[in-house]
Amino acid sequence: MKMPTARQRRLRTILFWAVPAILLLVPLGTNAYTQFIVNGMLISTLVTLGFTIVIGNLGQLAFANTAFFGIGAYGSAILAAKLGVPWLLTIPIAGVFGAAGGFLASAAALRGIRSYYLAIITLAFGELMRWSYLHAKPLTGGTDGLPMPRETLFGTSLTDDTVKFYVFLVVTVLLVKATANLLASRFGRAVMAVRENEVATASLAIPTSRVILVTFIWSGFVVGCAGALFARHIGHVFPESFGMLHLIASFAMVLVGGLGSVLGAVLGAVMLTALPEYLRAFPGMEELFFGLIVAAVLVALPMGLASLLRRLSPIFVERFYREAR
């Protein structure tokens, strides 16, 4: 894999900021429906990003992602609906709730549980959270869910998808940039080292437990923030939004985009959020076509869509990125 030159890295930085700058113009060409889908893509980007850093970069088969997402969404909804906290303020708080979820989920990994066992434990954590949403009715509204209160931002209703878009865009860009920087730092190198060989990494005096803990917490924070965005996106939080189907969809986004790649998280999220909308034209066949397309992408590009871009130019090669084996 050819690494980018200093000039290409500068170009990459310009490109990174140019894309959101161009995206600012998106509402000029959308209607309420297409804007809603674009907003969904931004949320999926964060969900996929949080997921990929744990299973792709850290190499832990942990499936607590949907739990973090639900914790963030319910955290935001409860704060807004029950305590009257302005939604904007609930976003970082939901991130902290998600991070707390990440801390809890990391406990199993820190106890040395790995592979399928970690997968089962984290899946159980997700189901436990869903059970809590269903049964903590005074707080969560049970099966009826929890509606988000109507709010305005700078005098415009937050039911307006364009207003939501700008908030979602800012949050997404900041978290993507922060995650990309984190993975490109010494810490990111340690994360990749843990994935490649945990024992060898520990022998280099790298505190692997701390690396695992911080990665889970950061994953929880990113996905928790996404949960807060989702709560406002839908306007009503229901337990069924945080079940196995959501987890599978997020996992597919990670794989289609490219395991362990920030760029892949964005590409996978955008593609798999948009695809079902295109497939609306084939009622009754959507699931079949969706499955076929996802399978075709994975067969043609086992390292995901990001690998295609990496082949095109080294600009898209992320620092310390190694293809998962």
Binding site: A32, G145, G235, F238, E240
Partner: protein, 392 residues
């Protein structure tokens, strides 16, 4: 003065597009020969079996179209999948409203999705007739453009309690239910109705989903000796409960079930007629599905959907489609969204010939169907009942 006139002229000119948009909004989705109706349902996903609920309504549209439409306009359904998922449902609604620009919406199974859609549809102002989902919070508190065309959860719960009390000398009522909101949506209004009639349930029991034995509950019931039992249980658990009732000699106590169980399916599950002979369920129709009063509706669905396997769900949306067509006919050819909303609010005691209770929409109340019939075995035959011992 000239400057002021010029200013007003400029303001009027600037405001003209807004007025033009309002006028356009009223007739969006209408042409001289068509009315586009957005139909949302779970056509994919785990709950796709509920999409059957759309079939009756769509068949009715086609019947009306074959008869020449409404004032020369054909009813054109634009279907969108919600997959019974709130995010996908919202995308579907936004697509229908802002991209397909349908005139109105009708349909929607899955209460959770419909509840999530409510703010979007309410804000859009376009008429929406909820033709399948039952949650009360879809149409209450009142939203001017949202109409419920099937009995809501509270209507069904009250109908259950009303039937129970229609049995002479019923004083001692017990309740057994799942500990979830689905069960509470039936049991809470039922309890409320009982309370209004001065009756407090003698026993309130829980049977969890997936439970394979109801001995503990039945033994408590044996102590309480109720005259009637209200059971808000899913079909599988209902069958277990009824079998255990018979096993412990309580098979003669009548049991009132929800619309979530089907009489004959429950019989199939227990495999013993004695267990269901005193079992009653909420049944929103005027007749049994294979009864003579339902025949024309079954024939209509078969005509347009020959491969459709008929079930309770297949018929549920026909009544509200009839009420819609009736309102459209009354308005005349000069149709607008506001006129449709006003016409729907004038629907009174509309006998659909298929729903057991009429539809009434008023400006104050858009939950149009206030009751439900009950089905039970009479002389070993499934029979639709108005009240205890009174065939529909």
């Amino acid at each position: 003065m000239r400057k002021i006139t010029a200013l007003f002229a400029m303001l009027a000119f600037a405001a003209a597009p807004a007025f033009a948009q309002d006028a356009g909004w009223e007739t969006q989705g209408l042409t001289d020969d068509s009315i586009t109706i957005g139909v949302m349902g779970p056509f994919s996903g785990n709950a796709s079996s509920y999409s059957k609920a759309m079939v009756g309504m769509m068949a009715y549209y086609q019947k009306i179209n074959d008869e020449g439409g409404v004032h020369g306009r054909k009813l054109v359904a634009v279907q969108e999948d919600t997959a019974c998922d709130s995010a996908k449902g919202l995308a579907a609604a936004k697509k229908l409203i802002s991209q397909d620009q349908v005139f109105m919406l009708q349909g929607n199974s899955c209460s959770g999705v419909a509840v999530a859609l409510r703010p979007v549809v309410e804000e859009s102002g376009i008429p929406w007739i909820v033709a399948q989902a039952v949650s009360d919070s879809i149409s209450a508190p009142l939203a001017r453009n949202i109409f419920h065309g099937v009995p809501t959860g509270s209507a069904n719960g009250r109908a259950m309690a009303s039937f129970v009390l229609s049995k002479p000398d019923t004083k001692n009522v017990a309740i057994i239910e799942h500990s979830n909101d689905w069960a509470h949506s039936y049991s809470d209004p039922a309890k409320e109705y009982l309370k209004e009639q001065g009756i407090t349930p003698s026993l309130e029991l829980t049977m969890e989903r997936g439970q394979t034995d109801a001995t503990a509950q039945v033994l408590q019931l044996r102590e309480a000796k109720p005259d009637f039992i209200i059971a808000a249980l899913y079909e599988a658990e209902t069958a277990i409960f009824l079998k255990d009732l018979k096993k412990y000699g309580l098979g003669e106590i009548p049991v009132m079930g929800t619309a979530g169980t089907d009489l004959e399916n429950t019989l199939k599950r227990t495999g013993d007629f004695d267990t269901v002979k005193n079992y009653f369920v909420i049944h929103s129709y005027v007749d049994n599905l294979d009864g003579p009063k339902m025949e024309k509706w079954a024939d209509m669905i078969k005509k347009y959907y020959p491969d459709e396997e008929l079930s309770t769900f297949s018929f549920v949306s026909i009544g509200s489609a009839e009420a819609l067509v009736s309102a459209l006919e009354k308005i005349g050819p000069d149709l607008t969204r506001s006129k449709l909303i006003a016409a729907l609010e004038e629907v009174r005691d509309f006998d659909t010939g298929i729903l057991s209770d009429p539809i009434t929409w008023t400006p104050e109340d858009h939950q149009g169907v206030k009751g439900s019939a009950v089905a039970g075995f009479v002389d070993e035959k499934p029979t639709v009942l108005k009240a205890w011992g009174q065939p529909y």
